[in-house]
């Protein structure tokens, strides 16, 4: 226990120390020192996480207590952390992928001047710190601290190049949309406190607590928690911030907007799965929102030409799959997909970063092409990422996606069919992206072509490691019909209340897999053959334009929400405040002034009013002091009537 107390403190405080040191010393250290320090702290945190993970494997879940955050007569919220099967897995992913991305950033951000370089790494460290709070907290308040903390870091990093107005706008949009979700989360917490008087997991997530909650309570609480998840994990209707978040540096997109932060919603629901499993309504809503988001984002991804935008919509879509999994009760399947997605999506973003780096900030895939031979490592690793996300066996994405789809099939066949449609689109847009970027002829300028170069080792090494993980990561969850033990599901069996039991027959399961592989393969080959020679023109069909313009959802929000609210604010400010309220006040004031003039107490200027005041004051005091009997008698007579 004492050991874990120290270990957990190290895991959390190292990134915080990195933030403080780099943030405060940004003007003093060289870039090398800054990068090694920042990366070193995360690697140290990763190593400590491995120990914590192993400890939990041997000894089971551990809760460590430091001090009480809030301790009042009616409410106690301890500063406690919990290391169990779920949080220790997330720890490894966060610090592991985090370390790789820090290393990658060292080279990627090299053009920045050293104070800004330090600022970048400080934010990144602060992000890891917040994310660790989020997953390690032993109650919803600590989770909420991390929850808002990662939102802040996301805001700071999206707006990292702060001179650019549109980047700031994107950053603000991300923060505000997340705040809408956070409000839901907060209300859920209040609800829990009102009913149970506690927010600690081991007190809330028990059968006794469930017995105290009515069905309406559970549905209300879970729906509000899900609103929080919608914001953080970019689900309909709060998803439009995530594509805009690509304004941040590419490694940030990989770490925050793909591998870790956006999966916080999945973590939160998995953590609270007991509650969610008790509300059919919420589960259905989660599943429907999940699959709808998966499909909506996939249709948009097909038409985008910005390499990062395609990946961003792909992330939204994959998150939708995870929510589908949660909605149909496949919690461990959703967590499985979180992990594999962290590998291949981080890989794809970093690969995209490598391409962008080589092309001096070109992001339009129509101006790429033929990079296969120029960037061999980037090419092969990116290809592995595409195969993994498309769901081709035996790459990691296949297993995790298949698990979700199988569970969806059991729950409702429509989910499964729609899931397959989404999978087909995923394979299509990923290989459209791959083919347009790496195959065919180079379509950029001659100057760009002359400068084409593979990225340095600090960038390619993370690519290689992530590529290996993307390829073999599925091994942690090989289903039993393939002779595996599904290590992950047994890991999580203590946390997931109703472990998803396969009731499908073996033959059905094989058929489902076969169908999905066939569909994915077909769609993948179509994309490859179509885009290895040509690129997309501006879409001409109505539906193409509709997808290309992202279903006009941003425009809709602008017209339906933002502008009316702005107008309303202006109306309050210019009319209600100035004319109505202040008008009444000033009217009264003028009346006083007018009558004051009438009685000629004051002849000119404002000084008069002070004299008036002083006179009134002095008379009052005088009356009280020397003639209190009179005043009191007066009041007595008044009150006795």
């Amino acid at each position: 226990m004492a050991l874990m107390k120290i270990l957990v403190a190290f895991i959390i405080l190292w990134p915080l120390a990195g933030f403080l040191l780099n943030g405060l010393g940004r003007n003093y250290w060289s870039k090398k020192v800054i990068a090694y320090k920042a990366t070193g702290y995360i690697v140290a945190s990763f190593i400590a996480s491995i120990f914590a993970f192993l400890y939990v494997q041997d000894h089971g879940a551990v809760t460590v207590h430091y001090f009480d955050f809030i301790h009042t007569a009616s409410l106690t919220i301890p500063f406690d952390f919990k290391v169990d099967a779920l949080s220790s897995l997330f720890l490894l992913v966060i610090t592991g992928v985090g370390s790789l991305i820090h290393l990658y950033s060292k080279a990627y951000m090299q053009e920045e001047s050293s104070p800004h370089y330090a600022r970048y790494f400080a934010y990144l460290n602060l992000f890891i710190f917040s994310m660790l709070l989020l997953v390690l907290g032993d109650n919803y308040i600590i989770m909420f601290m991390g929850w808002e903390g990662v939102g802040l870091c996301s805001y700071l990093l999206i707006g990292y190049w702060f001179s650019n107005g549109s980047y700031n706008y994107a950053a603000k949009k991300a923060f505000i949309m997340n705040r809408i979700g956070d409000l839901g989360f907060l209300l859920a917490i209040f609800w829990l406190i009102a009913k149970l008087g506690t927010v600690s997991y081991n007190e809330v997530l028990t059968a006794e607590s469930l017995a105290k909650l009515s069905n309406a309570d559970i549905t209300g609480i879970t729906l509000l928690l899900f609103v929080g998840a919608m914001g953080k994990s970019a689900q309909i209707p709060l998803f439009t911030w995530l594509p805009d978040a690509m304004a941040g540096p590419t490694p940030v997109s990989a770490l925050i907007h793909a591998a870790t932060m956006v999966t916080a919603g999945i973590y939160m629901i998995t953590r609270s799965n007991i509650l969610f499993s008790h509300s059919e309504i919420t589960q259905n809503i989660v599943a429907i929102i999940g699959i709808s988001t998966a499909l909506l984002a996939a249709t948009i991804a097909i038409k985008q030409n910005d390499i990062k935008k395609v990946l961003a919509y792909s992330t939204v879509s994959q998150l939708g799959y995870m929510f589908l999994g949660l909605g149909v009760g496949a919690y461990s399947g959703a967590v499985f997909h979180v992990i594999t997605h962290a590998f291949f999506k981080a890989l794809l973003f970093l690969g995209a970063g490598s391409v962008i780096h080589a092309l001096h900030h070109e992001q339009d895939i129509r101006k790429m092409g033929g990079l296969k031979s120029k960037l061999p490592i980037t090419h092969i690793t990116f290809l592995i990422g595409c195969i993994a996300i498309a769901g081709v066996p035996p790459f990691s994405g296949f297993f995790s996606k298949d698990e979700i789809l199988a569970a969806a099939f059991e729950k409702n066949k429509i989910y499964w069919v729609l899931g397959l449609v989404g999978a087909a689109m995923t394979a299509f847009y990923m290989f459209r992206l791959y083919a347009t970027t790496f195959l065919g002829k180079f379509r950029g300028s001659n100057e760009q072509e002359a400068h084409l170069h593979e990225s340095p080792l600090a960038m390619t090494l993370p690519l290689i490691i992530l590529a290996i993980l993307s390829a073999v990561g599925g091994a942690i969850g090989i289903p039993e019909i393939m002779g595996g033990h599904h290590w992950l599901a047994s890991q999580l069996s203590t946390i997931v209340s109703t472990p998803h039991e396969a009731s499908l027959t073996v033959s059905t399961e094989w058929i489902l897999m076969g169908v999905s592989v066939a569909i994915v393969a077909t769609s993948l080959l179509i994309a490859l053959s179509k885009y290895s020679k040509q690129t997309d023109e501006e879409p001409s069909s109505a539906i193409g334009k509709f997808f290309y313009h992202k279903w006009y959802i941003d425009e809709l929000y602008q017209k339906a929400i933002i502008e009316p609210l702005n107008e309303f604010s202006l109306f309050l400010k210019e009319f209600i405040e100035k004319k109505v309220i202040d008008g009444a006040v000033n009217g009264t004031g003028k009346l006083v002034q007018f009558s004051a003039r009438k009685v000629r107490l004051i002849q000119n200027g404002q000084a008069g009013y002070y004299i008036l005041f002083m006179v009134v004051g002095i008379i009052t005091l005088f009356l009280i002091w020397f003639n209190d009997i009179y005043i009191l008698r007066f009041i007595h007579t008044l009150t006795q009537k």
Binding site: F67, D68, F69, I70, H71, T72, A73, S74, L75, P115, I141, F144, M145, E148, G149, L152, G159, F162, S163, G165, N168, Y169, K172, F175, I176, R179, I180, L183, L186, L187, F190, W191, I193, A194, L565, N566, F568, S569, L572, K573, I576, E577, I581, D582, V585, N586, G589, V592, Q606, Y609, F613, G617, T620, I624, W625, D628, I631, L632, I635, T639
Partner: protein, 472 residues
């Protein structure tokens, strides 16, 4: 020792009237205010004897000073604010600065008296003592429209004071021995109808001071037109007089009338919170933006107190302190910007992060506190207060919760306009950073985060008050 909280500022204020040299006036004020701070820190962690002395024997009014947790936390806030303000604005040029500082110290004495007074007449006396210097400060050192605005401010608060005075005399008439002491007031012999009348008289005074919608329009104008040092005192400390009055007098004296008006007042406050937040979104003047933001925050505190839930009141008790620290930070930044750029229009700012990165970081820090990010002090208070609202009525909490989003909108708008973007001409012409003011800001920001991570000392400090209030 409590009398020292009055004597130090008053004596210094008198001395200052005779120190004409500017180079000497500022250090004198700073030293005196730091001495008070040391005293306040000591008082916060120790038991303090009440001070009692005959005052107006013919009226049965006694000069009683007492300090419980509520008084102590506000004394501490006042004592932190004054030196912070003096140091941060030490470079500002004011004509006859010694008189300016002297008046501020008189105000400080008045505030201390308000928070310590155990006798209603004494309370009223200090209430006025705190306000009168402010009228002069605004009308002499204020901006262009100072006369009109001060007049409005004066009429408003004067009316409020008048109501309160009538209320005090009214209660006094109904006590057994015509006393002004707290205990006598509690046991005053009133019918239910009279209690409601007395409740209303006090409430109006406090509501104007806070202010509560729709009695608020004096505040943005006054904050905008006053010299920022005065705005700081008003916004960080003086608005707390109203909330203090409610906790100290209104709630213990009229618990039944209080409970009967819970829903009306909470509703009005919540409307005010959203109203002020919406207006803040469209402000371009940084001082007006902070003013409206502060109206929203104070409204939340008032609503939380009126929920009469333990958790809501606890939140408000510590937010009294936290809000003061946070808004003080914002005002100091606004003052630096106004002094160094010559404008308050945020449209003409931009790029501060390039020109003065430290100040921009501090701005972001206080902006986070303003939107109650977790691990800042404001989160603890707001979390508890919203919790209290939720217990009263979940829908009201949800409705008021919209302000959490609105606060993010207007605060981040401010950060974006001031700190980010390309360097504007006004920002580019800023002189070297004001190191003294920045040091003050750094200390305040440390308080923000320390009490945000470990708020327990604030809970401990206010535990006795909370217990007393809930016992009734």
């Amino acid at each position: 020792m409590l009398i020292l909280f009055l004597l130090i500022p008053i004596l210094t204020a008198i001395v200052l009237l005779f120190i004409k040299k500017n180079t000497l006036a500022s250090p004198t004020a700073i030293t005196a205010s730091l001495a008070t701070l040391a005293l306040a820190v000591f008082a916060s962690f120790n038991k303090v004897e009440a001070f009692d002395m005959a005052w107006l024997p013919s009226l049965n009014s006694r000069f009683t000073l007492e300090a419980d947790g509520l008084a102590k936390i506000l004394i501490l806030l006042t004592s932190i604010s004054l030196p912070a303000i003096f140091i941060a604005t030490a470079k500002n040029q004011y004509k006859q600065k010694n008189i300016f500082l002297s008046l501020l110290l008189f105000t400080q004495a008045g505030l201390m008296g308000v928070f310590l007074a155990g006798d209603a007449l004494l309370f009223y006396f200090f209430w006025e003592l705190a306000l009168i210097p402010v009228y002069f400060l605004c009308s002499i050192w204020g901006g262009e429209k100072r006369i009109v605005i001060t007049f409005k401010f004066f009429i408003y608060t004067f009316l409020g004071s008048l109501f309160m005075l009538i209320g005090i005399l009214f209660l006094n008439a109904h006590t057994a021995e015509h006393s002004f002491s707290m205990q006598a007031f509690i046991h005053a012999n009133l019918t239910d109808g009279q209690k409601i009348t007395a409740f209303a008289l006090f409430f109006i005074a406090f509501a104007i001071k806070m202010p509560i919608f729709p009695l608020h329009t004096w505040q943005p104008d006054t904050y905008e037109q006053s010299p920022t040092a005065v705005t700081m005192v008003m916004s960080a400390v003086m608005v707390k007089m109203g909330l203090y009055g409610i906790l100290r007098w209104l709630l213990p004296l009229f618990p039944a009338a209080f409970a009967a008006h819970t829903h009306v007042v909470v509703f009005l406050s919540v409307v005010g919170i959203l109203y002020a937040s919406f207006i803040a979104i469209r402000q371009d003047d940084i001082k007006r933006l902070i003013a409206y933001s502060s109206i929203a925050h104070i409204g939340l505190m008032n609503a939380a107190i009126f929920t009469t839930t333990g958790i809501g009141i606890q939140g408000a008790l510590i937010q009294l302190f936290s809000h003061g620290i946070n808004v003080l930070g914002l005002w100091i930044i606004a003052d630096i910007l106004e002094q160094q750029t010559g404008t308050r229009s945020m449209q003409q700012m931009g790029g501060l992060a390039k020109k003065q990165p430290t100040l921009a970081i501090l701005l972001v820090g206080f902006a986070l506190a303003n939107i109650a990010m977790p691990l800042t002090n404001a989160f603890v208070g707001e979390f508890l207060m919203f919790n209290g609202l939720f217990i009263l009525n979940p829908w009201i909490a949800a409705f008021a919760g919209i302000s959490v989003v609105l606060a993010a909108i207007y605060t981040l708008n401010m950060v974006q306009k001031v700190a980010y973007g390309e360097i504007s001409e006004k920002i580019n012409n800023m002189p070297a950073p004001n190191k003294a003011a920045q040091t003050v800001l750094i200390i305040l920001l440390i308080i923000v985060f320390v009490t945000g991570v470990y708020p327990q000392p604030l809970f401990t400090l206010t535990a006795d008050t909370l217990q007393q209030l809930l016992a009734k």
